[in-house]
């Protein structure tokens, strides 16, 4: 009956070649975890950095979990998208990171990647936008034979997550 409260924000992203970025995020947990309140997934606004190359979203994340076990610790997956001048959106990177397991505030950097695709697709991406996307988004965090996937590095998403744990010590979990 331990509880975990994840409060934080997706601060922003750096290092992307694209400029107008937004981020879709979601939290995936194991079966032992139960979401008491908060939304599991969301999406930030589009930010076009004026100064520097960091896009700031400061998107709040507030989730309250109850858990009956440690397995399936919450993990965060991110999709960074960019919006071009025509208002079209295309994928800029997939990212994944675990929610920290110790209480307190954590600064996280989540590097991202995106599928490369064939040369034709790369060419198309360079000129007309769009790009290859994963058909099944859960490949981001479930990895089977990922070597088949050819990817290119995207930028980094910066997160600040605060974690409040409750009653974990009651079950012998020190944190």
């Amino acid at each position: 009956m331990a509880e975990a409260h994840v409060i934080g924000q997706i601060i922003g992203a750096t290092g992307f070649s694209e400029s107008s970025l937004f981020c879709k995020w979601g939290i995936h947990t194991g079966a032992a975890w139960k979401l008491l309140s908060g939304v599991r997934e969301g999406q930030t606004q589009v930010d076009t950095p004026q100064v520097g190359d960091m896009a700031y979203w400061c998107h709040p994340i507030d989730l309250h979990f109850a858990t009956k076990g440690l397995q399936g610790w919450p993990r965060l997956h991110l999709q960074v998208w960019s919006q071009d001048s025509f208002g079209r959106c295309q994928l800029a990177g997939y990212g994944f990171c675990h929610v920290p397991s110790s209480p307190g505030t954590h600064q996280l950097d989540c590097p991202t990647w995106r599928p490369l695709g064939s040369w034709r697709e790369q060419l198309a991406r360079a000129f007309v936008g769009g790009g290859p996307q994963l058909l099944h988004a859960d490949t981001i965090y479930s990895g089977a034979d990922r070597y088949r996937l050819h990817t290119a590095a995207g930028g980094t998403v910066r997160l600040e997550l605060g974690l409040l744990l409750r009653h974990f010590d009651r079950y012998g979990v020190e944190c």
Partner: protein, 1631 residues
């Protein structure tokens, strides 16, 4: 000569050449030691080596001793010291080294020779000598001196020696080769080998080279030969004595060479032929040594032990596995070899083949596939190139929604329909259907031929038992054999029984077929025509009588013997039992006898009696010995059975064949009834509707019914689906001629497994049947009615219409072959793995394998071979199933080891109150939506928090009648609740969409015009004479809390307030105290009133009205004004509290509170008791008399943001003590128009502070979605509506254009479908049969009596749903549209021209009215109140008209003005009205969604009466409750009077009764001061009634002797519409 020999010869040549060289060298160097020559002499290399091997150690040993250190340090490092000893050392070392070199050179030369690389040798060898020369440079002088002395003798000596040697060679070598002679040995030990070691080597090298180039021999003689410069150098340095010696040597050498070498080959070398062994010899030799196994197959007997037959395990049914593939020849070779090698035959199995493990090779290759095929192999990692697309906001918040929605497709292939019974079947058809069915059955059975299979099985089993009884393999344990035989036998028994049953079935089936066919034939003969082409042919197959008989007999014999065996077995068993029991019995008997004896003794000894009692006297029965059954009896039994179920021997085999070759009698030869039937059949056609999730998605074409009652459709419907299929239904419709269609039956199709995809799905047949009863007047037998084949009508049959639909349902496959199957649940929360989903479904959903127990049972029964690896998983399962007995896990774990590491169980987690509360709060369950601060510990949460919620969940299905007085309404309320919930759920997602304006407040950037205006504003008046209301800033309903919102009500003025009437009884002088204060007060201004009021100029009374506004039980009132047209101009302020403190838009929209605006007359009563005090004090009591009320729902205020206008005050039909007639006179004709209208009016302005953004209906946000997907309308029509709406909105953005509406199930429906003539209740039509206007009014009244419930309230502001009229009447609640639609439909039925008017009215806002065209003018009807207004009525609440809707068209108002006063309602003028259907888009004839006709049930009068009593009682209680501090007395007399009066009011609809009524009352209650009024309302619930009574404030008197009267009357209208009249009055006795 083969190559080998050649090589050998070359080597020998080389060696000889080598030898020659050596020889030459020896001859050249006379100083060469004897020993060395000796060594070289023998031609054989080995002997030479032996000698050297022998000699060298001896030579080297001393050297090693002497020189070990210096030699190692190397001569170069030594300083050139000219000492003797040094020189000796140096020479030693040098010599030593030279020898080594020589040795090395020789061995090298040999190896080089062997390698046939002679050329590089000289060069190589030269370099060391060079080196040595250099190093030797220093010590040369002394060396030379010494060397010369030595050399002289040694040279002379050597020359002698040489001669000897030559001579020796020339003669004959005496000593055997390899053994040194005595002389040599002596020489060896005595000679010192000091001098010239280098020279000979150099020479030898030179010579050697010469040897190789023999033709250049001549050059050798000149010492200055170009090639040997170095040699010459050495010689030059060596000094003169060497020189002549050289010359000597040279000449000598040449001579010797020529002399000695020429004859040498003859002497040393023997030429032999190359050794060669012929192939034959080889082979023969090999044959002796080698063994070639034969490639021929080995006979089996060789491989097996003596007298053992090969045994094939596979044939015995054991699994042996596939042997690896080895070529036959190979196998034979191995077998032969093994036979030879290991005679024990342990390598051979029982079947005479080599033992082999099953093939270890995987059936598939494990090499990674080539890269090209990758993407298709890995579906999970597939990427998909997406074009950069414009943002679709609908999917924005779903991360995982990569798949485009709607890519799921279900293919439904409907191939045809066959009726197995149809009302139009003739008797013959019935038989034919039966026959066909039987024949089908027969064919199916025949195909399966179970009997034959069982017979074969029986045979096989018998054989097995035969072989098993006499086993050939003695090694099998006897036990096992016995056991198997036993099993076999039991199986034989089973099989035999089964076979007998099968055979019998076959036979009876055949018999039945024949019987039906005979019946059919007789029927055809009887009726003298044929209807069906069916024809049965029985083909006889002759059988060999004799063989057949034999087989038959054999079979019977076998059976008998088996039976016999069984019986004997049984007999044995029984006998055993019998014996055992007999023994027992005997023992008992004995004991008994003994006892008896004892008894006898006991008679003598009385203590024995106790013992006797211990054996209670249950006497075992003497067992009966079993009987052995007679063989004959058994035989008879068996024969009987056989005769019964089997074909008799010799009887021909009958094979029925059904063909359609028969001819049908043409129509003209048939009797009339039959012709009629056939015509009827032809008129009929059938089509199927496809219903997906109980919504019609498509239908097949209508096909005519064939004479054979088959319909072929052959249509495939591709359903693009969005929701998970819940039901899939086919509805079979039949059309007869051109009349209406009837639903025959519904066929429920199973939803295909996710594994079934198109092209793999089999065509299946589903049977359907209908329960309809059809009786036909022709030959057709009808359906559901009894008919008979017999002439006398006996043996009746009742057949129902039935048939089969052949269809196939499957999931479609996409372009890339992926099945388009939606995830199992569309409402999956959060993330769900797409892969997992698919897998789980495919693995769990696969039919058949799910029931573990069944599977285990089957596996146990089918006796699977446990060794077969194919069965391994099954065997594991079986072992689980059998070992665990009852425990078969009916699940498998996705996350293993999860449970073991869990902190708590999930039950415990769910039990946590805190978590539950948190969850419920976040789910926005109404009870917990705004719950704040949930306690941190479970113990702090009270259990009762959940009580309400749980109760609500429980009560969902239970209909509570407590709150609702009559049951129908309770049911309706429940239903409404359910509809509401479903609608709320449907729109829950849509509700969470935010628009930009919800989130971002953006101040508009001021543009030029705004700036200009604001500049202009500077110049405007500070205090304008006519102030206007300014727009306020809007506030989104978010972070608001209690007290933030205020409701502002501005009461401006009122018109035509009824004025007091003087007490009517003139005759009676009113008591002094009853003279009202105001009477006197009003008397003075009354003077100016015109004197034409005839009766009482003095008692001229006015009215002192004030307004009391109550909202959420907060009450404010204005000051009191005077006169019938008062002006207050007062603003009242009310705090607003949202329910549960939830200020969200949705919650605000669903606020049900009303603003009650009541107008009262303030009456002052002088209650001064004593006239003497009149001068000094005033003692009055204020009484308030209710005059009327205006009720405005809060939802209207909220959605309108403000309400501004003049409203009609709802005054009661009878207002005792007040009148309005006088007003007309008083008005002095100032406002004649107004005075014409009855009633009083109140001007109001209501708004909310701060201004809230009205919640937009979700319909607007989701309209695209709804229109596209949730509609059955034609796509073109929908497009046209969109276009039309867009055009209209462009021209007049404020006018609402309505083309499509949402019906109660959420589908979009074209609005004209709602309008259709519908019958009003008969009762109403019969009231005024000759007065259409009165009927219309009555109908309008009826409609207005249906309670009003705004959609925003019922559906929480979600959308405007239009229910059809029957739904509306069932629900008995609806808003303006439903009322208007119903009223319009009634008017259409009454033959009026009627339209629906969409427009704005006060106070409703956007609403629907009804417009009718009476002879020469238009009437506007308010459907909710039942009132009607002429077009030019100023007080018509309808303020603007935006469009008109007729039953077949929509007209949009494109006139400049939209006020009904100023517009023309002539819709035929296209300049004024833009019509939807025009010439370009003609009206397609849309069918109506309304029912054919409305059915009205009479309302139960008794129930109404009961309800009336209950309401009355309840209201009385309420009034008493509201007066907690006073005694409430009820005047029974008055109450009964009022009760009589109310039905009158109902009859007259509250008009024109006042005077009689007053007189009546006056008569009855002479000495009471009476104030009261009847209230009239439609009945929906009790609560509004109570509210209404409360708002009148009748109870608010504190006159001590006040009495009350309250009467309730309910008039029932059809369909449970109730009109409620409540008469409340307060009476004060006049003293």
């Amino acid at each position: 000569m083969n190559p080998r020999e050649e090589k050998v010869s070359i080597i020998t040549e080389e060696s000889t050449a080598n030898d020659e060289d050596a020889e030459v060298g020896r001859r050249e160097k006379s100083s060469k030691v004897q020993r060395q020559q000796r060594k070289k002499q023998p031609p054989r290399a080995d002997s030479e080596e032996m000698v050297t091997g022998k000699a060298q150690p001896g030579q080297e040993e001393p050297e090693m001793h002497l020189l070990s250190m210096p030699a190692r340090r190397g001569p170069r490092s030594l300083p050139p010291i000219p000492s003797m000893s040094r020189t000796g050392f140096a020479e030693f070392s040098m010599r030593e080294r030279l020898r080594e070199k020589l040795q090395a050179a020789r061995s090298k030369a040999e190896s080089a020779l062997l390698q046939e690389i002679p050329t590089p040798r000289p060069r190589r060898l030269r370099s060391p000598s060079e080196k040595e020369l250099e190093t030797e440079f220093g010590p040369e002088p002394c060396k030379e001196s010494q060397a010369t002395s030595h050399r002289n003798d040694s040279q002379s000596y050597s020359r002698v020696k040489f001669h000897d040697a030559v001579q020796k060679i020339k003669s004959k070598p005496q000593a055997p080769p390899g053994f040194p002679s005595a002389e040599e040995a002596y020489n060896f030990f005595t000679f010192s080998f000091d001098p010239e070691p280098e020279e000979p080597t150099v020479k030898a090298r030179a010579k050697n080279r010469d040897g190789t180039h023999q033709e250049e021999e001549g050059e050798e003689e000149s010492p200055a030969g170009g090639m040997n410069k170095m040699v010459l150098n050495v010689i030059a340095r060596a000094g003169t004595p060497q020189k002549d010696e050289e010359e000597l040597l040279g000449s000598q050498d040449a001579k010797d060479f020529l002399l000695g070498l020429d004859p040498a080959p003859d002497e040393f070398v023997v030429v032999r032929p190359a050794e060669y062994e012929g192939t034959h010899t080889w082979l023969e030799k090999e044959k002796e040594l080698l063994f070639f196994p034969s490639r021929r197959a080995v006979p089996t007997w060789k491989k097996l032990p003596e007298n053992v037959q090969p045994r094939f395990l596979e044939d015995e049914g054991l699994y042996t596995g596939a042997r690896p593939e080895v070529a036959r020849a190979q196998q034979n070779v191995v077998e032969n070899r093994l036979l030879r090698q290991e005679p024990e035959r342990k390598w051979f199995g029982d079947d005479g083949r080599i033992l082999a493990l099953p093939s270890p090779i995987k059936p598939f290759s494990s090499r990674p596939r080539p890269l090209a095929q990758e993407p298709s192999a890995q579906a999970g990692l597939e990427t998909h190139y997406k074009k950069a697309v414009k943002y679709v906001h609908r999917t924005q918040h779903v991360v995982g929604s990569a798949d485009p929605p709607g890519s799921f497709q279900l293919d439904i292939d409907i191939s045809g329909l066959i009726f197995t019974h149809h009302p139009c079947f003739s008797r013959e058809h019935v038989l034919a259907a039966k026959l066909a069915q039987l024949y089908d059955q027969y064919l199916a059975r025949h195909q399966r031929s179970k009997a034959k299979f069982l017979t074969d099985k029986l045979q096989a089993l018998r054989n097995a038992v035969q072989t098993g009884l006499y086993p050939e393999k003695p090694h099998q344990s006897l036990d096992a054999t016995q056991k198997t035989i036993k099993e076999y036998k039991s199986e034989i028994r089973e099989t035999r029984k089964l076979r007998d049953a099968e055979q019998e079935k076959d036979r009876t089936l055949l018999k039945t077929i024949v019987k039906v066919w005979k019946e059919m034939k007789s029927l055809r003969e009887f009726q003298r025509f044929t209807n069906t082409p069916l024809k049965l042919v029985l083909r006889k197959e002759k059988v060999d009588q004799k063989a057949d008989e034999e087989a038959y007999e054999a079979e019977i014999q076998a059976e008998i013997s088996e039976l016999m065996e069984e019986h004997t077995e049984e007999y044995e068993q029984r006998l055993g039992e019998y014996r055992a029991s007999y023994q027992q019995w005997k023992a008992w008997k004995k004991a008994q006898k003994a006892k008896k004896k004892k008894k006898k003794q006991a008679e003598e000894h009385p203590e024995g009696e106790a013992e006797e009692e211990l054996y209670p006297g249950e006497e075992p029965v003497k067992p009966i010995p079993p009987e052995l059954l007679d063989h004959a009896v058994l035989e008879q039994q068996a024969r009987e059975r056989a005769a019964h179920s089997r074909r008799r021997p010799g009887e021909p085999v009958l094979l029925p064949e059904l063909s359609l070759t028969g001819s049908v009698t043409p129509d003209d030869q048939c009797p009339r009834a039959e012709v009629l039937r056939r015509e009827d059949v032809k008129r009929r056609s059938v089509y199927l509707k496809v219903l997906f999730n109980s919504k019609e998605v498509s239908r097949t074409v209508s096909r005519q019914l064939g004479a054979d009652f088959c319909v072929h459709f052959g249509q495939i419907f591709n359903l693009q689906i969005f929701n998970w299929p819940e039901s899939l239904t086919l509805q079979v419709y039949e059309t007869v001629g051109h009349s209406s269609t009837t639903l025959l039956a519904e066929v429920f199709l199973p939803i295909p497994e996710t594994t079934t995809v198109t092209r793999r799905a089999p065509v299946e047949e589903v049977e359907f049947s209908s329960s309809q009863h059809v009786t036909l007047d022709h030959e057709g037998v009808g359906s559901g009615v009894p008919f008979s084949f017999e002439a006398d009508g006996s043996n009746q049959l009742i057949l129902m219409t039935s048939g089969r639909v052949s269809h196939s349902v499957a999931w479609a496959t996409g372009d890339n072959g992926t099945p388009l199957i939606p995830p199992p649940s569309q409402q999956s929360l959060g993330f769900r793995s797409a892969l997992k989903r698919a897998d789980a479904i495919s693995s769990i959903g696969t039919s058949g394998l799910t029931d573990m127990k069944k599977l285990a049972k089957w596996a146990a029964e089918s006796k699977l071979d446990p060794n077969d690896p194919n069965n391994a998983p099954l065997m594991q399962l079986i072992s689980i199933a059998t070992s665990g007995e009852s425990y078969v896990p009916d699940f498998f774990r996705l996350e293993q080891l999860q449970q073991e590491f869990n902190f708590v169980t999930s039950e415990e987690l769910n039990r946590s109150k805190r978590f539950r509360l948190l969850c419920l709060r976040s789910q926005e369950v109404p009870e917990f939506r705004n719950y704040k601060q949930i306690p941190a510990y479970d113990r702090e949460i009270l259990e009762k928090v959940f009580q309400d919620y749980e109760k609500r969940l429980r009560d969902k299905s239970v209909i509570e009648t407590k709150d609702h007085i009559d049951t129908h309404r309770a049911i309706v309320a429940k239903y409404l609740q359910q509809v509401r919930e479903s609608v709320v759920n449907r729109f829950l997602i849509a509700k969470h969409h935010f628009l930009l304006s919800d989130l971002v407040v953006e101040e508009e950037v001021p543009n030029m015009s705004i700036l200009g205006l604001s500049l202009f504003k500077l110049a405007e008046q500070k205090r304008p004479l006519r102030p206007r209301r300014k727009g306020r800033k809007k506030v989104t309903a978010q972070n608001l809390s209690d007290g933030d919102i205020k409701l502002l009500v501005n009461i401006c003025r009122a018109y035509d307030i009824p004025v007091r009437k003087p007490p009517a009884s003139k005759s009676q002088q009113p008591a002094r105290s009853s003279r009202t204060f105001s009477d006197r007060h009003a008397a003075s201004p009354g003077a100016h009133s015109p004197p034409h009021s005839p009766d009482t100029p003095l008692s001229q009374v006015s009215v002192r009205p004030f307004v009391e506004v109550s909202f959420q039980r907060t009450i404010c009132h204005t000051t009191t004004a005077e006169g019938p047209n008062p002006s207050w101009n007062e603003e009242l302020e009310f705090p607003f509290r949202a329910p549960n403190g939830d200020y969200s838009t949705a919650s605000l929209q669903s606020v049900k509170d009303d603003v009650f605006i009541n107008i009262f007359d303030e009456v002052l009563h002088d209650i001064l008791e004593d006239d003497r005090e009149r001068g000094s004090g005033i003692h009055t009591r204020i009484e308030r008399h209710w005059l009327g009320c205006v009720k405005i729902p809060f939802s209207t205020i909220y959605s309108q943001a403000r309400i501004d206008g003049t409203f009609k005050i709802n005054t009661p039909p009878v207002l005792l003590g007040y009148s309005k007639e006088r007003n007309v006179l008083l008005e002095r004709g100032l406002d004649s128009v107004r005075s014409l209208s009855e009633g009083s009016y109140l001007t109001l302005f209501i708004t909310i502070e701060p201004q809230l953004v009205p919640g937009e209906s979700v319909r607007e946000k989701t309209s695209d979605l709804l229109k596209k997907f949730d509609s059955q309308e034609d796509e073109k029509l929908l497009q046209a509506t969109e276009k039309f709406q867009a055009e209209c909105a462009l021209k007049f953005p404020t006018r609402q254009c309505l083309t499509t509406v949402t019906d109660i199930s959420g589908k979009t429906v074209f609005v004209t479908r709602y309008l259709k003539p519908l019958n009003p209740p008969e009762e109403l039509l019969n009231v005024y049969p000759n007065n259409p206007q009165a009927t219309a009014e009555l109908v309008a009244r009826y409609v207005s009596l249906i309670p009003f419930l705004p959609d925003t309230v019922s559906f929480a502001g979600i959308c405007d749903l239009w229910s059809t009229s029957d739904q509306f009447l069932d629900l008995l609640a609806g808003d303006e549209e439903e009322h208007a639609v119903l009223l319009c439909d009634y008017f259409l039925f009454l033959g009026k021209k009627a339209w629906l008017v969409m427009g704005n009215a006060i106070p409703e806002g956007p609403t629907a009215y009804v417009l009718t065209w009476e002879q020469n003018h238009y009437l506007i009807w308010n459907p909710c109140s039942g009132h009607f207004y002429a077009q030019f009525d100023t007080f018509c609440p309808l303020k603007s008209v935006s469009c008109l809707i007729g039953p077949d068209n929509i007209w949009f108002n494109i006139q400049q003005y939209d006020s009904p006063l100023r517009i023309n309602f002539d819709v035929t003028k296209p300049k004024l009205w833009k019509s939807f259907f025009s010439r370009s888009l003609p009206y397609p004839g849309l069918s109506s969604v309304q029912p054919e006709e409305l059915i009205y049930q009479r309302t139960d009068k008794a129930a109404a009466a009961e309800l009336q009593d209950r309401i009355e009682k309840m209201l009385k209680e309420k009034i008493m409750d509201w007066r907690p501090r006073h005694l409430t007395r009820w005047n029974r007399h008055c109450t009964s009077t009022l009760r009589h009066f109310l039905p009158l009011l109902e009859r007259s609809q509250g008009e024109d009764v006042e005077d009689e009524h007053r007189a009546e009352l006056q008569k009855q209650l002479g000495d009471y001061r009476f104030s009261g009024f009847p209230l009239h309302m439609p009945y929906s619930e009790v609560k509004p009634l109570i509210e209404a009574v409360y708002s009148t404030g009748v109870h608010n008197t504190d006159v001590p002797n006040v009495e009350f009267a309250l009467a309730v009357y309910i008039h029932p209208y059809p369909k449970n519409v109730l009109s409620v009249w409540i008469y409340v009055a307060s009476l004060i006795r006049n003293r």
